[in-house]
Every structure is written in structure tokens, then in C-alpha cells.
């Protein structure tokens, strides 16, 4: 049994991502969408907190939201994988439930 967590808020103005990370269980996945994609920026003040909590949790980014914001590949944490809308659907199907951290 696993959960797909989605986060759509910037981690610099909202605690959703950090709270989400603290509530994940092994086997869960986090998908960053909309302003949530800033949570995967390398070298930011939240990057360490994100990486520390990814031991058994996979991190995904929605590609369209990354490109819209001008975030280049080399600025993204190596642990993060980018998916498109079809990959988003696959993630929803793979997990037992989806929890949105609004």
C-alpha cells in the first residue's frame, strides 16, 4: 500500500513540502507540480531537507511546470525524475491513493 503525494506550493513561502516529506512512508512517491517544482532546486535552502527525507521515497517533477519556470536540468536535484502528463497518470494508477498537500 503506497501513496502518491502531490505538492503545488513553493517551499519558500509555504510549509507543505516539508510537512509532506515528514509524513511520507517507504514506498511512497512525491510529485512536485506548479510552484511545487521549486522544491527540487539544487543548492536552495530547502534542498538538504528534501534530500534527507528521500531514503525510500521517490521524487518526481512535472516537466511542463519545470519548463514554464525556466528551470534548467542542471539546476535540478539528481534524485528527481521528470515526468509528463502521461507519467502523472501512471503515478496515480501505480499508487493506492493520491494525497494533495495544498
Amino acid at each position: 500500500m503506497s501513496t502518491l503525494h502531490t505538492v503545488n506550493k513553493s517551499p519558500f513561502t509555504n510549509g507543505s513540502l516539508l510537512s509532506c516529506l515528514k509524513h511520507c512512508r517507504p514506498g511512497d512517491a512525491i510529485l512536485l507540480i506548479e510552484d511545487g517544482v521549486y522544491g527540487a532546486l539544487k543548492g536552495s535552502t530547502v534542498a538538504d531537507a528534501v534530500c534527507e527525507n528521500l531514503a525510500d521515497v521517490r521524487l518526481f517533477l512535472l516537466g511542463g511546470d519545470v519548463r514554464a519556470r525556466g528551470i534548467e536540468d542542471e539546476k535540478i536535484l539528481s534524485q528527481a525524475r521528470t515526468v509528463e502528463y502521461d507519467g502523472y497518470v501512471d503515478l496515480v494508477v501505480e499508487h493506492d491513493r493520491t494525497q494533495s498537500w495544498l
Binding site: G64, A68, G70
Partner: protein, 135 residues
């Protein structure tokens, strides 16, 4: 002509996630018609508005980042960006698009509109204004 006032537009929100960033830019463009002394401040998540190579094709909303490059034609030539806000987000000046204006007092020489300032300098800039509009 009436007295010129100093207007500062404070941008603290990322683009696209909310409508604030686009609305701020719209207000700046409208306000530019009134011949005031206009400055823009970008701090906190507002610095994300100026990243280069934004491409909104997939998310189906207008990419308004090229519009910042038109501000010089409206005599909006002071875009202050806070260095600490960039660093906290893993960004530096090289991650921002280039925005220039032609200086009519210097034989139309092309000059950068973006000025990177410290948090302390940003506080001074804010304290120096007649009107501050926040987005």
C-alpha cells in the same frame, strides 16, 4: 506638470502559480503612462519571475517573461533584484534573463535594467519611496 512621485512595485510571488506576477506587470505598464519615477523590486519568490528560458507551451498559459524586456521603452529602467533571495533559491544573476534599456542621456547607450542589491540595500530602496505597491 504635477510633482513626480517615486513608485515602487514590490514583487514577491513566483510566476504562473498565482496571477499576482502577471497582474503586477500589467499595473506597471498601465502606470507607466503617468510619467512617475518607477522602480520594480524582486525579492523572495519574486526573483523567479525573471529566470531565463521560460517556456509555458505545455501548461497552456501565456509566457509573460519577454514583456519585462519591453519595460525600458516605457522608461521603467530600474529592476532591483535581491541577492539573498536568489542565493536562498540556488540561483545567481546568470540564471536571470538580460533586460536592457537605451539611456537617452548617454547617446542611447544600452544599459542593464537589472540591478542586484543586498537585502539591506533593498530596505533602503523601500524606505526611499513615496508610494509602495505590493504584489
Amino acid at each position: 506638470m504635477s510633482e513626480v512621485k517615486k513608485f515602487l512595485y514590490v514583487n514577491r510571488k513566483a510566476p504562473y502559480g498565482t496571477i499576482y506576477a502577471l497582474e503586477s506587470l500589467e499595473v506597471v505598464l498601465i502606470g507607466a503612462a503617468f510619467d512617475q519615477d518607477v522602480s520594480l523590486a524582486f525579492l523572495d519568490d519574486g526573483v523567479f519571475q525573471l529566470t531565463r528560458n521560460q517556456n509555458t507551451e505545455t501548461i497552456g498559459v501565456k509566457n509573460f517573461s519577454p514583456t519585462f524586456r519591453a519595460l525600458g521603452d516605457y522608461d521603467v529602467t530600474k529592476l532591483y533584484v535581491e541577492r539573498e533571495s536568489l542565493a536562498e533559491r540556488g540561483l545567481s544573476e546568470s540564471d536571470l534573463q538580460e533586460i536592457t534599456y537605451e539611456d537617452e542621456d548617454d547617446d542611447w547607450a544600452e544599459k542593464p535594467s537589472i540591478r542586484i542589491v543586498s537585502r539591506a540595500e533593498m530596505a533602503d530602496i523601500m524606505a526611499d519611496q513615496d508610494v509602495v505597491l505590493s504584489f
